[in-house]
Amino acid sequence: MRLIADLFLVVGAAFTLFGAIGLIRMPDVYNRIQAGTKAVTLGSLCLLIGIALLYPAWWSKLLVIGVLILITNPLGSSTIARALLKAGVKPWSKASVSQAGEADR
C-alpha cells in the first residue's frame, strides 16, 4: 500500500516538474500556459491520490480539493489566455507564418 502511494507521489511530482520545465523551455506565453496548466493539474491530482492512499481517513476533503483544482486551474489559465488575446499579445509562430491559423481577431 505504502509503495503504491509512494509511486503516485513520485509520478505526481515528476509531472509537476515537467510542467515547470515546460514553463522554462517554451517560447511564448500561450505555450507556457499550456505546459504549466496541463502538467500541474495532473501532477496535483496524482499527489492528492497518493496522499489519499497514505491517509484514507482524509478522503472527503482531498476529494473537494481535487475537484477544486480540476475546475479552477484550466479556468484560470483560460482566463489569462483570453485576457492576453484581448490585450493584443500575438501568439508566437515559427519562421514560416504561412501555415499558422488565420483566426486573428
Binding site: 506565453v29 490585450a87 499579445v89 500575438k90
Partner: protein, 103 residues
C-alpha cells in the same frame, strides 16, 4: 525540526526572498502584484511548517487572495494595467501589446 523540514524551509526562504526583491525592483506594477502574491504564498507555507494552521489560514486568505485581488482591481481602476512587451526580445513577442492604449 527534522532535516526534511529544514530543506523545505530553505526552499521557501529562497522563494520568498527572491520574489520580494523582484517585487521591489520590477518596473511593471502588475508583475509586482504577482511577485507579492508569491511572497505571501511562501509565508503561508512557512506558517504551516511552523505548526500554526490558523495563522497560515489567515495569511492564505488575506495575503494570497484578497491583497492580490484588491491591488489588481485598484491598478485597473487607476489605469495602470498596461502590460509591457518585455526586454527587447523580438523572438518572444514581436511588436505586441500595442493593441490597446485607450484605457
Amino acid at each position: 525540526m527534522s532535516e526534511v523540514e529544514l530543506w523545505i524551509a530553505l526552499i521557501l526562504g529562497i522563494m520568498m526572498l527572491s520574489s520580494a526583491v523582484l517585487a521591489l525592483v520590477v518596473k511593471n506594477h502588475l508583475a509586482a502584484v504577482a511577485a507579492a502574491s508569491v511572497v505571501s504564498l511562501g509565508l503561508a507555507l512557512l506558517f504551516a511548517l511552523m505548526r500554526a494552521p490558523d495563522v497560515a489560514m489567515t495569511e492564505a486568505a488575506v495575503g494570497a487572495g484578497l491583497s492580490s485581488l484588491i491591488l489588481a482591481l485598484a491598478l485597473r481602476r487607476l489605469g495602470l494595467w498596461q502590460i509591457d512587451s518585455g526586454s527587447e526580445n523580438s523572438n518572444l513577442l514581436s511588436a505586441s501589446s500595442k493593441g490597446k492604449d485607450d484605457a
